[in-house]
Amino acid sequence: MAWTTEKLIKNPVKFPVRRVYIKRRLLTGAYESTWQRIDTRNGVNKIISHGSISIKIDAEKIVPNTYDISDYTTKVMNQDGCFNANSDYRSCWYGYLDHKDSKIKVVCAMKDPDRVEVGAVTAFEGVIQSVTSKGDNTAEIKAAMYSKKLNDYPFKDLALTGSKTVTQILTAIFADTRVASFFATTTLTPVNNVTIDLDTDTDNVFDGSMWDVIKFLAQKSQSTTYVFNTEFYFGTREIVDSTPVFTYAGLGNSQDDRAITIYGKPDYDQSGSDKLYTTIIDSSSNAISKSPDVILLNTGKTLTLDLKDLATGGEKQDVCDSYLSRFGVRRPSVKFKSPFMMMLVFPLDPVAIDSPGSKTEINSGYYDSSLYEDGSVYDGDGTASNINKDDIFIMESVTYDIQKWECDNFCRKLV
């Protein structure tokens, strides 16, 4: 029987695989060619606890916007001094440059009941920021995504002048050999590929880092940036395909296997009132967008934006209208825990939740509901937390807890 990743996620017995690798820097500054495994040394486990990775996107922002990805921390055994500084002959960095900026990656997989490994995926890849040795013979490794490296490189190093499109500037950044050593795939498709005059730098943006310029370009081109592991994405944040990447199975679900994939009880906010904005105002131009729904206008909030960086009144109005289209209607949200999703689900991914709940009450006359002898209900009402599987939700944040092997999810209904 072939076991797929999705099938193993639903399987009530899970065999997680967690491996941690590093690539050290040679004395020349170049990275060694082969990943070195550090979670085990000669068959002996070195990991005390793995960390978690939180990936979220600010749902309110439209432009500019970036994914916010947390740092990663893991705690390891260090009785043998393996994680000491490179000045210690016992350190596995001895003969190499020290910890900082060593590459680190965490690979996760699951084993099927026959112990065959399935679906190996890189859950995190980045650079080590620090390794702190503790007095109890343990050490803590802190690491950040590769986007942090973009902060280290001045944009001026590229020596670009004149007028360039956003795509041309981004292409130059990712052609830089230092940057290219971190990113294997780049998607550079700005929503508006506007032309930027690099010789006119009123806000001194071009004196900053490459990351500062990328954020500036995202704003100018109304695009979203997304960095995960070795992948860099710059483009639209519109939902291209609303087919759910995963349908979580809750109480009373109608999936073939009925396997529940929600841990604990979900928090279901049907009103979605935390993000109900029915009047959007731009303070720089007094552009305004208002909900036509009188009832919603009375319950929704007013959101004031400052869109002074956008050039034209038309662009500003577009942004106000776009906000209203996202938040001028009720958007129920669901917060819930699930099994570890093997990096199948990310923010902005559409998902569904099939959780109609148990039918517990007899209807009041419209339907033929009745009690069985065992007390269960035929054709009764669902629970108050009935989540329809046909509703599409958009993930706003996912925390992958590699140690606990579970995910903490927050999603909001698609407009």
């Binding site: 009530p12 017995v13 899970k14 065999f15 997680p16 529940i260 929600i262 841990y263």
Partner: protein, 256 residues
């Protein structure tokens, strides 16, 4: 019980070894010595009938009298040691597979000073990539020949997650060997027993020779565990004294 329980020093194949593989990924070299026979080092694009050579140079010369190849699909091939010029030489007796069908093999050898080890595999049992879960080049340091009791005490490290409907998911983070052995001991064996309790390194425990068909759990060909002695050594004189046996002792071990 007849047979013996053998004790080996840790694997000479370590992260400090230098690996050279024909096609297998160097990144996956730790699969050969991670004590998990289910994660395998595999060749990458090596057709059946084409030689795949895995050369492993130790960080220093070591004595070897045992080679274990676990969780593999090798049908034909050889295992040799590297001499001081790093030239492959045959062990005594030579290790050569011609029509192998077993997934795990062990070889007891004349003790040899080795600078490394070399596997050369040509055919596999399933005509697929050459793969191997564990490769151990070991040196036996002791054995106890009179086990009189065995109680397995494995540790399944698991978390239970409660689901929305009250059901449970079980997350198995690791399964480790543990056992209590009871031995009759001669004076010399009592010293081995005491030495195990004070030993500064972990060691491999191997009890497959207690079984002729190697079909029972814990006594299969690949039932080899890297352990530490977990209890205080308590030697006692048995009630029914037998000539030559002057002690009994309990050896409690836990996998590292």
């Amino acid at each position: 019980m007849t047979g013996k329980v053998e004790f080996f020093n840790p694997n000479n194949i370590t992260y400090e070894s230098t690996f050279t593989f024909t096609t297998a990924a160097l990144e996956n070299a730790p699969f050969l010595y991670d004590n998990d026979i289910f994660t395998t080092l595999s060749s990458d694009g090596s057709a059946d009938g084409t030689e795949e050579k895995w050369t492993i140079q130790f960080d220093s010369a070591n004595l070897i009298d045992f080679v274990g190849i676990f969780g593999h699909n090798f049908k034909t091939g050889t295992v040799k040691y590297l001499d001081e010029t790093l030239t492959p030489q045959a062990f005594t007796p030579a290790i050569a597979m011609t029509t192998n069908v077993a997934i795990s093999n062990v070889y007891y050898l004349t003790e040899q000073l080795c600078y490394g080890i070399e596997l050369s595999i040509t055919h596999t049992t399933d005509s697929s990539e050459k793969s191997c879960g564990e490769l151990r080049a070991l040196d036996k340091f002791a054995e106890l020949t009179r086990p009189i009791g065995f109680k397995p005490e494995p540790n399944v490290e698991a978390d239970i997650k409660k689901k929305y409907d009250g059901g449970s998911d079980k997350i198995i983070n690791g399964i480790k060997y543990g056992a209590s052995w009871e031995f009759d001991l001669t004076d010399a064996e009592a010293q081995i027993y005491l030495d195990l309790s004070q030993r500064g390194r972990s060691f491999y425990l191997y009890a497959a020779s207690l079984s002729t068909d190697n079909a029972k759990p814990y006594f299969m060909v690949d039932s080899m565990y890297q352990v530490i002695m977990n209890n205080d050594p308590k030697l006692k004189v048995p009630d029914n004294l037998i000539d030559g046996v002057v002690w009994t002792g309990t050896l409690q071990v836990k996998e590292v």
